[in-house]
Symmetry: D2
Subunit: 314 residues, 4 copies
């Protein structure tokens, strides 16, 4: 499929590479969330001012027993007015919201009427517009975005609440309660919408190939410049290809034809023994995928290792 940068077609990639990027990010977000559950959930028992004075000299013992009973960790100190502890629990959720927001954004873009390389599952009534019967809205992606976009500023409210006065804060603490719950709820909702989205995602391989073929010769410009570089030098090759692209665009002619007629590139290609057919074959997008497959292999290995570590079936 075509890879897009700054929302412009740029270079050939594979859908596998894009999906591997999603997978690796989900794995990373999941690993951080598990770490947070394992490492950052501390019991809080300090009494009114942190001394546990009302428990005499057995305060720490009681706190430890409470931690054990609740399955929470015992902190070095009470953290009633030290909110880094809460922030450490919240940040992996905000990270997860970033990851699912990126996936949902990609899907809304791939699902655009003019792109149609991916679409959400259709269920009766689902994604249908109430007034436009032809529409097929990417409802899961939109809902995921609607949730995920609210998370960053909730995290900011928690971070702002770090400045708590003395042994218990007047206001900052109270600002955290609903905010923290909202942050968990919205991240969870965004994740569920994204799970539904990915579970029912339809990929249109034919459409991806058509987009690539339509864009192909233009997309091959980097590839062509790389081919010509050994003969023409890297910068002159880039310059000549840029000129040829301009001619091809202005005259609506294929790039291959233009470079075979443009004197400097034509002589270089002739020196390299490349005629029109050989050049077209050399410029096949499938020959310009670089490390795409190797990255995917890395992503899948890492994913299996991650599942094994977390004790889940692969």
């Amino acid at each position: 499929m075509v890879g897009r940068t700054l929302l412009q077609q740029a270079l050939p990639i594979t859908f596998g590479l894009k999906a591997a990027g999603w997978l690796t990010a989900i794995d990373a977000a999941g690993a951080r969330l598990r770490e947070a559950v394992d490492a950052a959930l501390y019991v809080q028992l300090g009494g009114a001012a942190g001394t546990l004075a009302s428990l005499g000299d057995r305060g720490i013992e009681v706190a430890a027993l409470l931690a054990e009973e609740l399955g929470l960790r015992m902190p070095v100190m009470p953290w009633h007015a030290q909110r880094l502890v809460l922030f450490e629990v919240a940040t992996p959720f905000a990270g997860a919201a970033m990851v699912v927001g990126k996936i949902a954004r990609d899907v809304t873009l791939l699902a655009q009427s003019e792109v149609r390389e991916a679409s959400e599952a259709r269920a009766p009534g689902w994604g249908a517009s109430s007034t436009m019967p032809h529409k097929h809205n990417p409802v899961s992606a939109v809902a995921a975005l609607g949730c995920a976009r609210r998370v960053p500023n909730l995290l900011a409210t928690l971070a702002t609440s770090g400045e708590q006065e003395h042994e218990r804060a007047a206001g900052a603490w109270h600002a955290e309660w609903e905010t923290f719950a909202d942050l968990l709820r919205l991240t969870g909702s965004a994740a569920v919408w994204t799970r539904d989205l990915l579970g029912g995602l339809t990929i249109d391989e034919g459409r991806m190939r058509t987009t690539l073929d339509d864009a192909g010769p233009m997309l091959a410009a980097e590839h062509l410049a790389a081919l010509l570089a050994p003969v023409l030098g890297r910068l002159p090759a880039l310059e000549h290809v840029r000129d040829a692209v301009a001619v091809a665009e202005r005259t609506a002619r294929p790039l291959v034809g233009v470079v075979l007629e443009h004197a400097p590139t034509a002589s270089a290609l002739s020196e390299m023994g490349l005629d029109a057919g050989a050049l077209a074959r050399a410029l096949d997008p499938a020959r310009h995928l670089g490390s795409a497959d190797a990255w995917i292999t890395r992503a899948l290995s890492a994913h299996e290792a991650s599942r094994a570590r977390s004790g889940r079936a692969p």
Copy 2:
């Protein structure tokens, strides 16, 4: 010293307990920062669209060599459009800004003219007001707060930038550059101001004791209610002490005297064999510190372990 909750005097604590809370939070923030430097600094080399196509089939090899040369980790995948990686580096800084903001806030409150339990170091001209020659401003704390308070919303901008389009974002990526640099710069400045602040902090123990003595009998209410609970029951004890506090406040008399005259508490105290002198001794704030020392011991042990782990001298 007196512990304060909701900006009201609440219960006796020790300054050591407060400082141990700061220390534990600094240790936690420092540990997370070191983890981030160790674990989250990944090389980014993916070429224009993540395939490294211009490097033929040696892209991953080149990326790994670049990582090695720069002392960075090799990621599973390029992360040009997956910004969790950047967020993971930024969050420990935001956490550190929370921690130093809390310390600076406590110091500005302790340094209030009406409290004066702590003050910043005085150097000639430093903290002097340009128009009010008597003032001694807590300039390091104020500067630390001025920096630290800007960090949460910079983090929110980075988290919002997670939603990046396809293989390279149109705008979200560009919004990160100055934001990330500002976040590091402001956290660093806040930390340096806080180091200066703590390095020169003067603690006025006498003043702390005076505040405690002035507040003493009122502050002892929880302690008193706990003393009376075995005889009167927990809730009635609380109720009776609350009434006695009201009487003591209205009549500006010492709480001890009031409870020795108030029938139900007087009879309970008599049953317990506590006269005025014994009651006053029993209510000494230093006898109502609960686990304060034990928490401090935990904080110091954890701090030494943390320094040992990070290879620094204790």
Copy 3:
């Protein structure tokens, strides 16, 4: 051109309607900015604590003279610790950043390789990719977005700074300085990039028409359902058109053909005397533009009135 909702082709609109939306928003943002300059720029002179005591009994007179000299308004009271005044100056800038961000987002979407209905001006070297000579990046739009996206959280920092202690704040005030300057700078930059963007924007009318024609019959579904409603009833008409759309998509046949063969819609159309040709003419997108032109007329009138009010040439 095609109108798009949730990034799906929805209904025909005109580019004029879209541009009129931009214009109206720019006018509104500009009017608010002028209001802010006229109404919200107040002098601040209160001395150290707001009394102007060092000026004896002539403080207010001096403040008024200073305001006059600086061309600022005289406030009811000094506002050193009342930051609504600053917030009122900042919000119109944040509103302007929203408006230019929306325009820049629309342009990046219209400029997508798969859409190509608009593109930025080309100047030599401008928007060229360093490695992909065929690319034509929407650099002004991307730069505008990169600036505009940072503004909301700077505004949040200013709003958070409203909670200032007593007569002069310890930290909150200091957090405002660079933040306010950054907010003005980034909004200004976003606006300049957007001016360049709009000044050089090329609209491809032919491409817009092609998109509309390709999408036409599907896009006409609302129109068709509206045509059939008087005979079939509103909801049944919608239901039948939805079915016909599904058939047309599955079989890749024109919608008009499908509804002329589908029994219930065919009989309704026959009752209405609409054969294939008449139906196709009835469904011409140019006949389903509703109030588009009337809205544009309103926008242009309001714009001229706005320019007249602000004393600028129309």
Copy 4:
């Protein structure tokens, strides 16, 4: 009372001046809110893509009738994807939250056990601590702060949502719904808590005077430097007073005594004919209030004008 800057006692002010600052800010926030209700509440009716095509050529007429029926203004254009309109409604609420947050912050500081210049109304059970029967928490102020502190980042989410795609956004629009409702709800709650707070606020004038008297001589440093300036020059006077303050603090002696013994200041005072008694009278804080009363008069006049404009009883 004493005025405080950077949480340090600075100069004498009056409580009236502080309250006038609150009043002026409330008036300004209220005026902006009324403006927003009058000027920014626009009907939104544009149909699916802004054309109102389903209403034929009567769309604008219908929109105008709907606006009339709902008591809303008719916009120049539909604003479904132009969110400045929503932001304009939200910002006065965020401004109001800033204003009440500042008041609540001042009250929590004035209500500190060590300050006690103001306290909230006491009702049975209200503000009582569940475990510390002597405490009298500033619950209304704390609740107001807990609400008001969440508003700035909700506003940031709305501002971030300005970047909406084409004719209806995929995600940004959906992120606004709960956010906008929360922003209104929390501002309203913060305002109600602040109304309760101010309605029941007890001011302890005697305590204010005591604080002032205790701080008096030190607080008079600016005043003293101003007195000496005509004889000694402005900067030398400041320098000498700063030295005298240092001596007075170190030796715990009254400032007046110190300056009467310190050669340069003593000779200046003698030249001015000021002995100890005359100096003490000259330095009475009530003689160093500058324009405090004049500011209050301005605030009250502006308040009455504001009430008259808004048609409310004064």
